[in-house]
Amino acid sequence: MNWILLATIAALLIPIYEAWQDENIWQTMLAFSSIASKTSIMILIVSVLRDDWTLGVVGVIILSVGNAALMLLAHIIRRTNEL
């Protein structure tokens, strides 16, 4: 099962590079959403590997709340560009 995690780490490097390179704020937000969902999926995989339900619950909460944080931040940045 370890190879799944290693492949996800390799995939995680792509949006990190994208967030480092890009000038456009929306590209950075896109990279943020990609990384946030990838890390919470990794938390879920770790919880399955260790058979630990606490970690699983935390992973699910982070997965759902991460989207809410992204929407809040996107609204504020959108209103900044409008003015």
Binding site: N2, T28, V58
Partner: protein, 201 residues
Amino acid sequence: MSEQLYIIPIVLLLPLTGCMLVLQVNPYHALVIRGIFGAIAALVYVLFGAADVALTEALVGTMLSITLYAVAVRSSLSLRVGAIEDQLKAHTARELLSVLRATFSKHHLRLEIVPYTNLLAMQAALRAKEIHCSYVLSEPGGSPSPPGGGSRYDIQTRVSRLYEIMQAEVPPTKAYLRYIDLANPDKSTEVPIPEAMEGKS
């Protein structure tokens, strides 16, 4: 032992994103990268078995602090420009505003236009520190007219750093710059800043 195979690369992501965060100059980009950093930090906490710390990092460290900081950066990094209402729609005024917007976007400042009905109210607002700078259409007999003809604007500012930035970037054919020193009113209005600075240094 097999766990270390994936723990070490994941932990190494943390200093990588930390360096990205420190090296970022744009405040909004830095906020988004702080979110990325928080997501990876939460993953590292989970790997070390601290589920409660990971949850707190995701909820407070990432979601709440980023949102509050975005609101704070948005309201503090803004430049309030006073203008007379009737002059706002003129073609030259819009041209000047686009020049100012391009100038200050390099410094990550956002322009906020504050309309006033008359000149006196705008001057009072500038002295009361409600706005950072103001612009009005030059009167024909007032400041020296531009060589090529056409309309020119008087820009007044009370912040010396803004004066320096505008002096370097705004072409003198578009606007006549003035610095108003609120602390020393006798040095203000007619004295452009280079002479005033020479007197101080």
